[in-house]
Amino acid sequence: MLHWAFDSLLGLSLLWLAWRALTSPDLFKAIVLFISFGLLMSLAWVRLGAPDVALAEAAIGAGLTGALLLAALARLESIGEAGRQKGSIGETGAHDR
């Protein structure tokens, strides 16, 4: 009974986290939710009797993928900033001409 309750709760929170991670309007929030999704996944692996997979998921799915995604997001935003600045400079240049 307790196992059932735990499994259902874990399943529901995994689905909810995945849904929030995929639909959240804020990208940073989406990535953080995805990282916590990975952490909860490793709990699910343990429940399924796969501690090896849980170890790999905790180190890679939650740690490294999260770092990669956050780094990419930071770079994406700096590229966007640079593009906007260049765009505005280009526009004023066109005005000057």
């Binding site: 196992h3 059932w4 499994d7 259902s8 399943g11 995994l14 689905l15 995945a18 849904w19 991670a21 995929l22 639909t23 990208l27 989406a30 990535i31 995805f34 999704f37 996944m41 699910a44 692996w45 429940r47 399924l48 009797g49 796969a50 090896d52 997979v53 790999a56 998921e57 890679i60 799915g61 490294l64 993928t65 990669l68 995604l69 990419a72 997001l73 770079r75 994406l76 590229i79 966007g80 593009g83 765009g87």
Partner: protein
Amino acid sequence: MSGVFLYALLGVGLFVLGLYALIIHAHLLRKILAINVMGTGVFLVLVALAAGNPDAPPDPVPHAMVITGIVVAVSATALALILMLKVSVATGKNHLSDSTRD
């Protein structure tokens, strides 16, 4: 042991959820997240069915395949993120445009 089916169905649910997000979002970073969720769903089905027989210990072959899959997924994600950044630098957009002209 129907907890196994619970996790297998959860895997199916995650796969379909990821597929939905992959189709409706145009932003490439969201597409990468969606593909990762889809992959996790597939792994969950594999491992859940490996734990299916309650009398025997879980089947180690799907576990090994899933560990391999997780490492392949992270390297593919890294490559996809760099490609996304390159698209962003080249076109100034965070999504793929429909036509090649603009």
